[in-house]
Amino acid sequence: MSSVLEVKNHLIIDIEGFEGPIDLLLSLARSQKVDLKEISVFELAQQYINYINSQAALKIDIAADYLVMAAWLAYLKSKLLLPDEPIDEEEEYTAEELAGQLRHRIQRLDAMKTASLLLFEKPIVNRDMFLRGIPEEFDEVTKLIYNASIFDLIKSYINRQDDRVPESISIFKLDYLALDNAKNLLSNIFQKISGWANFFRLVSENKYTENDRSIAASAFSVLLDMVNEQKAHTKQEKQFGEILIKKIGND
């Protein structure tokens, strides 16, 4: 919390719950005991300044807002004594018009305070009276209305929002030869050969991936299946010797 706010909270607590300069002005205006529309701004300005001075004398911290208002009121007060002419160069308001604006702001705050009292003095649901606890549904309840406001959504979003959203996703290329691909590889090979041929040399000439060992393993596994299904002959002359393959029939 900023120091300004701390000062203000301090002030609010210390001077009888006034929430800002207009609130204080309203309180002082009520003490004039006339209709707020008829309030003497000149007199009110003096009351306000006196009040702020008395608070300063008590060595209570005064927030900037209250002091700015005091300075402005002192200025307005002095101008109200002069003939009715524009005092604000930019907007050309007369002192009396500025006083009118202030009167309006005070009345407006008063109206809203009254309205809030009126609103809250009547019975309110879930404070003074309560609704059916176990709502019943009738048969064929079909229409559900979902309650959700933007604020609900934002709350949900905030609760989930974190840094886990990746900037990008990279998927590594798989470094092995799938069996289906190995089958394609072998059928290509068998189309090219007639008679006996060196299996591993043929395989290595048809690289799919960088990993020779994976190709060899997958291709050999498919070859064994083909032998099993009597689609190919194989032979190996000696231990660790070359593996030779030959097609059976014409397909």
Partner: protein, 203 residues
């Protein structure tokens, strides 16, 4: 005789033609009672009109008056405004129920005033609220009111900076027993006095 009639409700329209008005009314009264009592949400009057034997607002109003009178001195009251009906516990026995059921804690003065300002000035921005209250902070109040679902963000104002604008919700009307926003206390009086607009607009 009453029960006999009710057992035939499955054939509503056919049966009604044969029966006299008193029976239909007995029926309609209890249909309204059942529908409204069953719900936690206020029931719209137009909906009730589709459920009773006559699409007649004055007739429905008569039945609602009867229900209100019937429940007048009970622990549960039947209430209605121009649009909605609802059953709720009687405010008079609040004390026996608050421990168990109270959901709305008492709000700060600032939050109550902020709600009033939004209700009477909507749609309005945070800086307009702060201008009226003459203070520079209202975030806590807005948070609380949003949390109660009494106000909602309804977009952005078409001025530089595009600030968010706030307005009251349907739940606000329901919880505060207002038919609609024109039902706010003293609204027309405040309008007439020019207190819901800037000084310039009013003069």
């Amino acid at each position: 005789m009453k029960k006999n009639f009710l057992t035939k409700l499955g054939l509503k329209s056919n049966v009604r033609v044969l029966n006299n008005d008193a029976v239909a009314e007995f029926d309609d009264l209890h249909i309204i009672e059942a529908i409204v009592f069953a719900s936690r949400e206020p029931i719209h009057i137009e909906y009730l009109l589709t459920k009773i034997s006559k699409t007649d607002k004055a007739y429905l109003r008569e039945l609602m008056d009867k229900l209100r009178a019937h429940y007048d001195n009970r622990g549960v009251n039947f209430e209605y405004n121009d649009n909605y009906c609802i059953f709720q516990t009687s405010p008079m026995i609040k004390a026996a129920l608050v421990d168990e059921f109270e959901e709305t804690r008492d709000l700060s003065k600032a939050a109550k005033e902020t709600l009033a300002i939004i209700a009477y000035h909507q749609p309005t921005t945070r800086s307009e609220i702060e201008e009226i209250r003459g203070v520079s902070s209202s975030k806590g109040s807005l948070d609380v009111l949003l949390g109660y679902n009494w106000i909602e963000i309804s977009g952005k104002k078409d001025v530089p900076g595009r600030p968010l604008v706030y307005k009251t919700t349907k739940k606000f009307l329901l919880d505060f027993n207002l038919s609609d926003i024109n039902d706010l206390p003293k609204l027309s009086e405040l309008r007439r006095e020019g207190l819901l607009s800037g000084y310039e607009d009013s003069s």
